[in-house]
């Protein structure tokens, strides 16, 4: 549904993206992760046609953003961190103005969406009186007008309280369940990404360092907590067998290694194995490992 291919971009000679390619399948919620300056916003900018790539292309539903900007964006709704509305106008007027750039304003559909995001009572108030949470709800409403196939979310939950974050997460998951909507989700809140996303793309200094499911990521270098005696002899053996010693009692095996065979080999070498248990790492652990290691 959404593909970026070989994106290169530099600003003032400083590379921001270096050959970034990934794709998001229809109905998938895809996380775009990376540290500040990793190239996430530039990637989103290229997908939305706001930034021109030096090389490469982004397609939405098979339509190139660079060649048919309007055709590609007709399928997209977008939300940005701290969305800037016309403060002196009401929420309803903002919706009407923004939706007019996508086609005729469907008042009935707009009312339904406003109701769904819980802004019915305040939609006639000026945006300057809205809280941050209400602005994000309004941002969501405008992104859903008219009905898009792809949602691009750029740090949408930043600054929201825990209730707001949960509401937002449930809303997006509900949209996917109902409409099979495709979502590209850029966030620093790794817990959120972990709870929402089917797959993730991780960028580091403009390069793609991982694309796949969280399961893939965990299996890329499975980590085990072990209790081996004697430890020095065990560590030497594991080192010879391409395992990585993360700390005493914590090891990472190569992705293709079978832990049962490793345990048998350790025992066969006279090492007592009291514990050998896989560690379920959070996305945060994985992200930090990946971005620090590569």
């Amino acid at each position: 549904m959404l593909t970026v291919t070989g994106l290169h971009k530099s600003f003032g000679g400083k590379p921001a993206l270096l050959d970034v390619s990934f794709s998001v399948e229809r109905g998938e919620i895809h996380g775009l992760l990376g540290h500040n300056g990793a190239g996430k916003s530039t990637t989103l900018g290229i997908i939305l046609g706001m930034v021109a790539p030096d090389r490469g292309d982004a397609t939405i539903g098979g339509i190139s953003v660079q060649r048919d900007h309007a055709g590609a964006l007709r399928q997209v709704g977008a939300i940005f961190e701290s969305p800037a509305f016309y403060e002196y106008l009401s929420g309803w007027e903002n919706l009407r103005i923004l939706a007019s750039y996508s086609g005729p304003f469907d008042e009935k559909a707009a009312r339904e969406i406003v109701d769904r995001v819980g802004l019915t009572k305040r939609i006639g108030s000026k945006v300057r009186t809205y809280s941050h949470g209400m602005r994000q709800r309004l941002a969501l409403a405008q992104a859903l007008l008219p009905e898009p196939k792809v949602l691009l979310l750029d740090e949408p939950t930043d600054g929201l309280d825990p209730e707001g974050i949960k509401w937002f997460r449930d809303f997006i998951l509900g949209l996917r369940a109902e409409r099979g909507m495709t979502v590209l989700f850029n966030s620093h809140l790794l817990g959120e990404v972990e709870q929402m996303c089917d797959r993730v793309t991780i960028l580091r200094e403009g390069r793609l360092v991982h694309e796949g499911t969280l399961k893939d990521l965990r299996e890329e270098a499975p980590v085990y907590e072990v209790d081996l005696d004697p430890w020095e002899q065990a560590a030497a053996f594991l080192d010879l067998n391409a395992a990585q010693i993360l700390s005493p009692g914590r090891i990472a095996l190569p992705p293709d290694a079978d832990p049962a065979i490793t345990v048998a080999a350790l025992v066969g070498n006279g090492i007592r194995v009291s514990a050998f248990a896989p560690v379920r790492r959070s996305l945060e652990d994985l992200y930090l490992e990946i971005t620090a290691a590569r």
């Binding site: 046609g49 706001m50 590609a72 964006l73 002196y88 106008l89 007027e93 750039y101 941002a139």
Partner: protein, 282 residues
């Protein structure tokens, strides 16, 4: 239809901003001051001297129409230009600075369409502003001096002199003149619009526009530049005064407006080129 719908939204934004109305308020105050000067002050003596020295009747030509003409001539270029530069200088740059443009640009609308909508809206603003000044000035003049009387036109710099004894003819000519002023002022709005499309602060777009306008006006008045005055933009913008002549010299007017239209198109294209090449990072 889409264009009109989008234009309506743009106008709603433009006229929804308190800043867009600042100029309207200032002009009403200024019109009241000018009227007071002409009605009660030495301005009346000056007008009597001017009209009678040219052999016309003060009673006929010291009228609401003549005062409205004075208001528009005196105020529009000096004070009106400030507000046109302010509004047109804001139209793209302020939305870029505030981040509103990102939400718009995430929509299926081309950058050319976006700028055309914004440019059309400032053209409409320019017209409404000029007519607001003309109409309110005239209504206030009527309140102070009554409806009757002809129109006395004298502008030494552009060498324009005309009298319209009948109210109907004078009012008609003043309306045509107001259209002419609005068309001339579009050039100023276009200049500010072009700067607004650049990667600069809205205030910078306004200040640069006004600086260029005033430099053009000052240089034009240097004796050395007198032979070349027709090459100055502000001279061309003053060509609306030729519409006030008893016998309108259309070739002079068409020449100046062709110059201004060409300039406006060039300014739009430069602004668009700059805007099209810009990256808007999210």
């Amino acid at each position: 239809m889409n264009f009109l719908r989008q234009l309506r939204g743009e106008l709603r934004k433009l006229f929804g901003r308190p800043r867009s109305f600042m100029g309207y308020g200032v002009f009403v105050v200024m019109e009241a001051l000018i009227l007071t000067v002409y009605k009660f002050g030495r301005g009346q003596e000056y007008m009597r001297d001017l009209i009678e020295r040219n052999g016309y009747s003060f009673a006929t030509y010291f009228s609401s129409l003549s005062i409205t003409f004075m208001i528009m001539t005196l105020s529009m270029f000096l004070l009106g230009s400030v507000f046109f530069a302010l509004v047109a200088g804001d139209i793209v740059a302020k939305e870029t600075e505030d981040g509103n443009l990102r939400l718009v640009m995430a929509r299926p609308v081309s950058r050319l369409r976006l700028l055309l909508i914004k440019y059309t809206s400032i053209v409409i603003y320019t017209f409404t502003f000029v007519f607001f000044v003309g109409i309110t000035g005239y209504l206030m003049a009527i309140a102070a001096m009554g409806v009757d009387g002809g129109l006395f036109v004298m502008e030494p710099k552009m060498k324009v002199f005309a009298v319209f004894p009948s109210w109907a003819e004078g009012a008609g000519r003043l309306t045509i003149g107001a259209v002419g002023i609005a068309i001339s002022m579009i050039t100023l709005s276009s200049l500010a619009f072009m700067f607004s499309c650049f990667k600069i602060k809205p205030a910078a777009a306004t200040i640069i526009t006004l600086a260029l306008l005033f430099v053009d006006m000052i240089l034009q008045n240097f004796p050395f530049f007198r032979p070349y005055e027709e090459w100055f933009v502000t001279w061309r913008m003053s060509c609306w005064l030729f519409l006030m002549e008893n016998q309108i010299s259309w070739p002079k007017i068409f020449e100046s407006y062709a110059f201004l239209f060409g300039l406006n198109a060039t300014l739009f294209l430069i602004g668009f080129t700059s805007f099209r090449l810009r990256d808007f990072k999210t």
